[in-house]
């Protein structure tokens, strides 16, 4: 039986639309700033064989991780134990999951009593209990990180299981917010199920199944084409995470990328053994780093599903920071995950100089805090991740203050944050001179200062405090990050992975790293420097020292004669 | 109606039969629990209790191997039933709960309880509490210097663990997921369920035998009986106001000691414990829950009474206290509570010291008065299974009016056995490299305090995480009536390994051990009773002979000179020395 290309395109769009509607329902009815505003969640539809079919991702990191977790969770619970209206909850890092905050809710979709697929949504919950508010921090074991949820039937025939709900919530600090986010997840899955049913009502189950196969085959064909466009060969790079939160010993990472006709093989052999420290990436996290990197090198409108993932081959030795085993702590895994992305692009740079970018922030850069909110009498928790400078590209500067790679969460508006939590943001601005110099410069990092009128517990879980992001092809490193505690105007630098008790009036200050530069700084167009200087993004000194450009501030012009001397001096 | 007279008469024989039957029920529960449990802490150290409550959640009878659990039950059961709703409990259901702020103690003490029905009518509730060796959280065995409840492990508000006789698998899975020692703990949970099942079976037999009305009548009678005796016992305590103060040496984070205060008012048939003046709760392991403090009072009071007094609602209703919410004796959410037992036993010690002037003959000098908890975890290199061990070590007991304090025993609310070295070593890849009394650690006195104990944990081949959650590292237990204090506690990493640097540890810490490390746990000696110089030299001689104290200490602390040739007391020299010492003292 042949595929009707028209019906194909129609069904494909309808399935994507279903996932999008799930996402909108989730976001609009959620409670926590992290979900409703920062959009730290994803939604997807899986066919009855648990192959991922369509997805609405706000966060690329969930690409790969989320879609690996869902099939494992369903198989562990037993598809046969799931009926109409049931939904299972799961976040087990060692059951295909990532860190504990990312909790997936998965429900079978039935049409006229038959299983036709699964809708699933994942949300990063602000707090899941454990060692520190917002469940981020320097922990040694997964047991310290919060509630571990093996697949359990959270919703039974459409009804929330009160006992499980209560038990889960009792582990959590910000109970009201989290309860709201769970309700939003349930609503999201329901929306998806309704859409899927409408699609089948229209096309019938046989066609529905057939066209899902075809949708996956279609992606497979297009992925193959894209893979064939890539240069064949083996490319590798080495790098590190700056510290592990307990020792100053850097965490070594190694990646090699082998591209041939069968697809792309990523191998992390040579990376350090896992540690009793927040630097361990689960396999799912490492897989998603690789999937993201590959996806970023392909045609923008390639629909991602099973047909794409089958071209991503990852070998990450067990027991290493790229594939940790129980009971390693995993909350810091994203720091490792996102650093791998930088490495992959660095490895591919010689082969794909115009496709990749120089080193980016490439850390999650968590800021988590909580304490007693005297107004509501509740335990409040807050989490956000801060942007940094992006890496420069072969034809353009790296954008300033933006999220990098797998991470695309919004910033929490100052006014929203201050309205809901007892904190004051006293500064939020770019960090001048933080860019990595180059013919095209890296983006600027940003500064964000938090002042606490009341006692609070604050956790920094980030990195880049030893060295800034690397440049490419003669471009220089961006500035490194600084994390500081400011007590009555005395500034004290902090580790990039630490939890501390704050007294009223204390200020925590983040200055995130700038992006790496691309090409020789002395080849940068002087007019571009002039613009940077006029905008106050680069100082005249730096312009002179790093770019060999003399700016005359009074005339607001480049002094070409001096500039030429400076550059000849090189 | 006519029947009334008949019914209102209590037949003394049947009374005694029912009463002992009720106790028997809980004893059988305890036996079932102990025999089917997996963890050393439950099956051997007997860190659990069982009880029966009537349909109004009033405690009727209990088999508590651990007096500390005395009080904790009393509030937990009614609060939990109320929270979950009695109407939501069917025959065969069982709830699981450990919520410290809903009548519980620390998270490790997990209670499983369920309704007992007779012909679908609610008779009451059977409950079993077990100290689970691990409930997840910050460190193996779930003890350590934590700053919030959320770091201490899984918090269980009442939820259904058993539905009409069937295990609620999803709840069970979710609980176990939080726990390191999954296999062992799963076994202990099943043991608790078994205990309750046995209990409810036996109870329905009793009810079947006597009928529900009779049963109820005699239950009431049992309570009234205890009530009468308790009131009598209290009126025996001399009326008056008893005061005392104490402190915890270290809160795990700051050097500020934790102040404890009590004022006990005894007036006829009433006794009232007031804890006004105790420190505010801290973000540190020194917070006792209301239930824990209540159990300290209950224990203290009970200890002053006749040993055979059956404990039930008739007793508890007389334990009245005022512990201000938000203080270390009544912690509020989200305070950490695992260290609460250290406070609880210290409160116990303080209560006895308060009573001392009133009834010198009944109380002991200061004891170890801390839980002295040691916990460690090891990940099996082969199976990858996570092993956790927990135990609480003994110390010197306080001396009494007419007798020395026993060496190396548990005290007050705490009566857990020691874990046999052979059992521990067979369960875990570690070695107990030393287990001994500590010479010269007693608090000297007319009657001396007991000796402290040393237990060294050696980990030959494995990295381990070790937790000390204890106290007494500032000073030892005080003496009384002229008696002197016992030796303080020491916690030492690698005490005598030339290869490794010896480090003194704090009394509240979690450390990561490398293969080959050793932790030495040295508990304090008990306080002495009366002036040491009044101690019978023969007793001193015996101690020296037994090697519990040495010649030098005999001379310096007790003024007793022992002839090391005859190995006998040199009476004249001793007499002289004692007079000298007294003279020199008075001249000062």
């Amino acid at each position: 039986m042949t595929i009707d290309p028209i019906k194909f395109e129609v069904i494909r769009n309808a399935l994507t639309q279903a996932a999008e509607e799930m996402a909108i329902t989730l976001r609009r009815s959620a409670y926590s700033t992290n979900v409703k505003t920062r959009q730290d969640f994803s939604c997807a539809f899986f066919d009855k064989n648990l192959r991922s079919v369509s997805q609405a991702f706000t966060q690329p990191v969930h690409l790969g991780s989320f879609v690996r977790h869902v099939p494992v969770a369903v198989k562990r619970y037993g598809a046969e134990n799931l009926g109409p209206g049931d939904m299972i909850l799961s976040n087990d890092p060692y059951g295909g999951g990532v860190h504990l905050n990312d909790i997936s809710l998965i429900g079978p979709v039935h049409w006229q009593g038959q299983l036709v697929g699964y809708t699933a949504c994942l949300a990063h919950h602000v707090d899941v209990g454990g060692g520190a508010p917002a469940s981020v921090g320097a922990f040694r074991e997964v047991f310290q990180e919060g509630i571990i949820i093996p697949p359990i039937k959270f919703v039974d025939h459409g009804k929330l299981d009160d006992d499980l709900f209560r038990l889960v919530l009792s582990q959590i600090r910000s109970k009201r917010e989290t309860a709201g986010d769970f309700r939003a997840q349930i609503a999201s899955n329901r929306t998806g199920a309704i859409r899927i049913n409408e699609i089948i009502d229209k096309y019938g189950l046989n066609d529905f199944d057939r066209y899902i196969d075809e949708i996956i085959e279609y992606t497979d064909r297009r992925t193959k084409v894209e893979v064939n466009k890539l240069p064949k060969g083996v490319f590798s790079a080495k790098g590190f995470v700056d510290n592990d939160g307990f020792t100053e010993e850097v965490v070594k990472l190694e990646i090699s990328v082998t591209i041939d006709d069968n697809g792309v093989k990523f191998d992390t052999t040579g990376s350090d053994p896992q540690r009793r420290a927040p630097v361990n990436s689960t396999f799912a996290q490492t897989f998603s780093a690789c999937a993201y990197a590959l996806r970023a090198l392909m045609d923008k409108d390639l629909p991602v599903n099973d047909g794409f993932y089958r071209y991503v081959h990852v070998n990450a030795p067990e027991g290493t920071v790229t594939n940790c085993v129980h009971p390693a702590p995993v909350v810091g895994g994203w720091e490792t995950h996102v650093r791998l992305n930088d490495l992959i692009f660095e490895a591919l740079a010689p082969a794909l100089p115009d496709a990749v970018c120089a080193g980016t922030k490439s850390m999650q850069c968590h800021s988590g805090f909580g304490g007693h909110n005297h107004e509501t009498g509740e335990y409040y928790c807050f989490l956000e991740t801060l942007a940094g400078g992006y890496g420069a590209r072969s034809r353009s500067d790296g954008p300033d203050a933006v999220q990098s790679h797998g991470q695309n969460t919004e910033n929490a508006p100052v006014e929203e944050t201050e309205s809901n939590y007892p904190v004051r943001i006293t500064r939020y601005e770019l960090v001048p001179d933080s860019e990595g110099p180059g013919e095209f410069r890296g983006g600027l990092g940003l500064r964000r200062d938090y002042m606490f009128p009341e006692e609070a517990t604050f956790t920094i879980l980030a990195d880049r405090d030893k060295a800034g992001p690397r440049g490419l092809f003669g471009g220089e490193r961006g500035s490194k990050s600084v994390y500081a505690l400011i007590k009555n105007n005395v500034e004290q630098h902090l580790s990039s992975k630490t939890t501390l008790q704050l007294k009223p009036g204390d200020v925590i200050s983040y200055r995130t790293s700038g992006g790496g530069g691309y090409g020789q700084a002395f080849n940068r167009d002087p007019e571009a420097i002039l613009n940077d200087v006029l905008q106050g993004k680069i100082s005249t000194n730096r312009a002179r020292k790093h770019y060999g450009v003399e700016i005359n501030l009074s005339s607001q012009q480049v002094d070409m004669t001096i500039t030429e001397d400076l550059r000849r001096g090189r | 109606m006519a029947g009334n007279e008949v019914h209102n008469k209590i037949d003394p024989i049947q009374f005694e039969v029912v009463r002992s039957a009720l106790t028997q029920v809980t004893e059988e529960m305890a036996a079932a629990l102990r025999r089917s449990a997996y963890s050393t802490n439950v099956k051997t150290r007997q860190d659990f209790s069982c009880a029966f409550f009537d349909r109004n959640c009033k405690p009727i009878s209990q088999a508590f191997t651990q007096p500390v659990h005395l009080g904790s039950f009393v509030e937990l059961i009614p609060t939990s039933v109320e929270a979950y709703g009695a109407e939501n409990l069917q025959p065969g259901d069982m709830l699981v709960v450990n919520n410290p702020f809903g009548g519980g103690s620390h998270l490790n003490d997990v209670t499983v309880f369920g309704p007992v029905h007779h012909q679908n009518e609610l008779i009451g509730y059977v409950a079993s509490l077990a100290h689970h060796v691990d409930v997840g959280g910050g460190a193996p065995a779930s003890i350590g210097p934590f700053q919030e409840i959320f770091q201490e492990g899984v918090i269980i508000t009442p939820v259904k663990l058993v539905k009409q006789g069937e295990m609620n698998e999803d709840i069970f899975k979710l609980l176990l997921a939080q726990i390191r020692s999954k296999r062992v703990t799963a076994g202990d949970f099943r043991a608790q369920i078994a205990a309750n099942t046995v209990g409810s079976r036996r109870l329905s037999e009793i009810v079947r035998k006597y009928g529900l009305n009779e049963f109820d009548r005699y239950v009431t009678a049992v309570i009234d009986y205890t009530d009468r005796r308790t009131r009598a016992e209290i009126s025996d305590i001399p009326d008056g106001i008893y005061k005392s103060e104490s402190f915890l040496d270290f809160d795990g984070f700051t050097e500020n000691t934790v102040t404890l205060k009590t004022k006990i008012t005894v007036d006829g048939e009433t006794v009232y414990f007031d804890f006004d003046g105790c420190d505010p709760q801290r973000r540190a392991p020194v917070n006792s829950t209301k239930a824990m403090t209540f159990s300290a009072c209950a224990y203290a009071l009970r200890a002053l009474m006749a040993p055979d007094l059956p404990v039930n609602d008739g007793f508890y209703r007389h334990v009245r206290m005022n512990a201000k919410p938000g203080t270390v004796v009544h912690a509020l959410h989200p305070a950490p509570v695992v260290g609460g037992w250290e406070t609880q036993v210290r409160v116990n010690d303080m209560l006895f010291r308060a009573f001392a002037p009133g009834m010198p003959q009944k109380i002991a000098s200061s004891t170890k008065a801390m839980m002295a908890q040691a916990g460690f975890g090891i990940i099996d290199q082969v199976t990858g299974e996570y092993h956790c061990n927990y135990e609480a070590l003994a110390g010197g007991y306080g001396a009494r009016e007419t007798s020395d304090g026993p060496d190396a025993v548990q005290q007050h609310g705490q009566n857990t056995e020691n874990a046999p070295v052979e059992e521990v070593e067979s369960h875990f890849p570690m070695r107990v490299s030393q287990l001994s009394l500590i010479e010269d650690s007693e608090g000297p006195g007319k009657f001396r305090g007991g000796l402290g104990m040393r237990r060294d944990y050696h980990f030959p081949d494995d990295a381990a995480t070790f937790t000390v959650l204890s106290d007494r590292d500032l000073e030892g237990p005080k003496g009384i009536f002229g008696g002197m204090g016992g030796r303080k506690a020491y916690y030492i990493l690698n005490p005598d390994d030339p290869e490794r640097t010896k480090t003194e540890l704090s009394s509240k810490c979690v450390i990561e051990l490398k293969p080959g490390d050793t932790v030495s746990f040295q508990t304090p000696g008990g306080g002495g009773y009366g002036p040491p110089l009044e101690r019978d030299p023969e007793r001193v001689l015996l101690d020296v002979t037994l090697g519990k104290i040495n010649f030098k200490r005999a001379r310096e602390c007790y003024g007793v000179i022992i002839d090391n040739l005859t190995n006998d007391v040199d009476r004249t020299a001793t007499k002289k020395l004692r007079e000298q010492i007294i003279k020199s003292r008075s001249s000062k």
């Binding site: 009815s29 990749v356 353009s396 954008p399 300033d400 919004e410 508006p413 309205s419 006029l534 | -």
Partner: protein, 710 residues
């Protein structure tokens, strides 16, 4: 009192990308005259006036004095932003937040694009200034305004010679005092600079969204005010001294004077007109619930109308990638605006959209468009790639010899070749099948657009009538209805200029709002009463300044609510404030629960509810021209039949094929006549395609009511 009878005429002018449409209505007879002239991008005002003159030329018994008012829809503001031609603007904010516009939302517009760019801020960094001052989230002063520092900064700003200044201080939505002081200080030194205060433009929390809206307002103010001035001047020179009104994004009009001060309210001026027309026509004909579908040469726009009112949204951004109107997934590529906008979904599917086959072998349509140049292959103007128009031609829906009133003759062969080469051959389909596929796929995208405005907002499209207009709308709309399961379609008379008509059938609307942010169980009812009173007072002032608004202002009140903890509000209409009491409150909460349930599929009755914003819409009614009935003659359909031709159709049931189809001349269709599909209805600027098993009734006003017989 305004003398309506002496001012019978109203003029509407809608400037689009290609054409400038004019409409003249005689409000006493309802007679409508339209005019089309080419848009003059260099100086849009001249195109404007020639459209007006053309109208007056056609109907020369119109005295300029008889013109009540002129209503204008323009994209001048949007274009300025898209083309980066905004005025030199300064941005003033709280100390520590100078980079608010640079950092924006810290996200990337597309997830997997390593070469992405953030939109360049409308204000360069050197023109962003900080004032030492600070409020907390309750509006209390934390750091008092530093007057000295302020004075210095004002001098600095003066030196830069900016034309406009946007002020956005943190938490000014709670307490505008500091913003007002800063404003005064600036006015004192730089009197004629264009000034915008965030607390006046959008007093709502979330600083970046508020700042962005305020900045856009000031950045386009100089352009817009100059533009409107030149329009007025041209009107005066034509002796037309009547009031000039401007269409707002929310579908209401406001006086040119207000428009020059707050142009941010008119960025979607053009598209809104179509929705308004649909709403008005719908209510006039007794269809209060309409989904309007407006399809032109390059894009199609869908919007939803309930109870005669277009749906309004505030999650919107301008100058960005095409988006669903929800700030969630688009937005990052453009500049967010928080002023009310008619909830439009705009997609790149028009007559010129190009069809292609991708590397995976899927047939795709758009978003690339051949536009007017080179245009579709069949125009023979150099177009090489097949478009929707080419497909329509091949399927027989267009008459090669009668297109654009016969001005262009279409080259069917060329179209076939192109489709064969680019689509049919690679897919192994017949040319007809491929052509049909192109239409179906374009339709799918359009059906999704219909879903986005209906289903995604919690409305069942089947409860609405679908109204299709614009140059290309009628050719697709019936099939869309079929696919979306909508049983009724309405094709207005003169669908080509429906939008321009919309300008003349709306009211003067002024939106105002106040922030509450308080839990329903904690609010003092008196506070709600007072706030509404305050809003109504300013509403009355605005109303009195709009000459065309007759009689007393009408107030529409709504409260934006959410569960305490959420961030997305649902707007709940509220009855007259005089009745505010506890019952009123419980009713309000109940209707919130209900709308939450219908939007997201659940209600949380135990959860506290929060009141976020009070909204007041002040409406100055403008009398509608009544519709002009056609003379009822004997409804003999034959007079309208032009002939028959083979046309390719697909339906929900059949795979599709060629059916011989009757072709009608719309201008000759008698009122109250009926006929059945399949059918083609032709008129000079537009062709309507009636699917098989649908039937048409011509109503008394010349509109086509198309209904599904199955």
């Amino acid at each position: 009192m305004k003398e309506l009878n002496t001012k019978r005429f109203r003029i509407g002018v809608d400037i689009g990308g290609t054409f400038t449409d004019g409409t003249l209505v005689d409000s006493s007879t309802g007679q409508v005259i339209t005019s089309k002239v080419l848009t003059t991008p260099a100086d849009p005002a001249s195109g404007f006036i020639s459209a007006v003159n053309k109208l007056l030329g056609v109907n020369n018994d119109v005295e300029p004095g008889e013109i009540e008012h002129v209503v204008h829809a323009t994209t001048v503001a949007t274009n300025a932003i898209i083309e980066g031609k905004t005025a030199k603007t300064a941005f003033v904010t709280t100390q520590g937040f100078r980079d608010m516009l640079e950092i924006a939302r810290q996200i990337r517009p597309s997830l997997y694009d390593l070469q992405f760019e953030k939109p360049a801020p409308l204000v360069p960094r050197q023109l962003c200034f900080e004032i030492p001052e600070r409020l907390d989230a309750k509006g209390n002063v934390v750091t008092p305004l530093d007057e000295k520092a302020l004075a210095k900064i004002v001098d600095q700003i003066a030196e830069t010679g900016v034309e406009a200044i946007a002020i956005c201080l943190l938490h000014s939505y709670r307490n505008p005092d500091h913003e007002q002081k800063v404003g005064k200080a600036i006015k004192a030194i730089i009197p004629d600079v264009k000034l915008s205060l965030s607390s006046e433009i959008v007093p709502e929390f979330r600083e970046y969204l508020r700042a962005s809206t305020t900045v856009i307002n000031s950045a386009v103010t100089p352009i817009v005010s100059t533009y409107l001035a030149s329009i007025l001047e041209k009107l005066h020179s034509a002796n037309i001294n009547s009031e000039l009104l401007v269409m707002q994004s929310n579908g209401g009009v406001y006086p040119a004077r207000s428009a020059s001060e707050s142009p941010v309210f008119m960025v979607e001026s053009g598209p809104a007109a179509g929705a308004v027309a649909a709403a008005s026509l719908g209510s006039a004909l007794g269809y209060p619930n309409v989904i309007s579908f407006d399809m032109g040469g390059t894009t199609a726009k869908a919007s939803l109308i309930r109870n005669g009112q277009p749906n309004i949204t505030k999650d919107y951004s301008v100058g960005g990638a095409a988006q669903s109107g929800d700030g969630a997934f688009g937005g990052a590529s453009g500049y967010p605006i928080r002023t009310p906008v008619v909830d439009l979904v705009e997609i790149g599917a028009g007559g010129g959209s190009i069809a292609w086959v991708d590397s995976g072998g899927a047939l795709r349509v758009g978003p690339q468009s051949a536009g007017a140049d080179p245009g579709p292959v069949c125009y023979g103007l150099g177009g090489k790639e097949p478009t929707i128009t080419d497909a329509n031609l091949i399927l027989g829906r267009l008459d090669p010899s009668y297109f654009a009133d016969g001005e262009i003759s279409l080259d069917t062969e060329a179209a076939k070749k192109a489709i064969h080469k680019h689509c049919a051959e690679p897919l192994g389909l017949s040319i007809e099948a491929a052509a049909h596929g192109i239409i179906e796929i374009a339709n799918t995208a359009m059906v999704n657009a219909l879903r986005l405005v209906s289903v995604q907002r919690g409305h069942d499209p089947r409860d609405f009538i679908l109204m299709g207009f614009g140059g290309a709308g009628p050719a697709h709309v019936v099939r869309l209805a079929e696919q979306a399961g909508i049983p009724q379609v309405l094709i207005p008379a003169e669908p080509g200029t429906t939008s321009a008509l919309g300008l003349l059938v709306t009211d003067v609307r002024m939106e105002s709002s106040a922030t509450l942010i308080v839990r329903a169980d904690q609010v003092e009812l008196s506070r709600i009463t007072d706030e509404f009173e305050r809003l109504e007072h300013s509403g009355r002032l605005a109303h009195s300044s709009a000459a065309s608004a007759s009689g007393e202002p009408i107030f529409e009140r709504a409260i934006e609510m959410r569960y305490w903890g959420q961030s997305f509000e649902l707007s709940v209409p509220v009855p007259d404030r005089k009745t505010i009491n506890d019952d009123w409150m419980s009713d309000l909460i109940e209707s919130f629960h209900e709308s939450h349930d219908s939007a997201y599929g659940f209600r949380a009755d135990d959860e506290p509810v929060e009141l976020v914003n009070l909204r007041l819409t002040t409406i100055g009614k403008i009398a509608r021209p009544q519709l002009r009935k056609l003379d009822i003659i004997n409804p003999d359909i034959k007079v309208a039949i032009k002939g028959e031709r083979p046309v390719y159709f697909a339906t929900e049931s059949s795979q599709g094929g060629v059916i011989s189809t009757t072709v009608y001349n719309r201008q000759k269709l008698p009122p109250r006549s009926t006929f059945n599909g399949p059918a083609i209805v032709e008129e000079p600027d537009c062709t309507t395609v009636i699917q098989p098993s649908w039937s048409v009734t011509v109503d008394d006003f010349g509109n086509l009511l198309v209904e599904n017989n199955q």
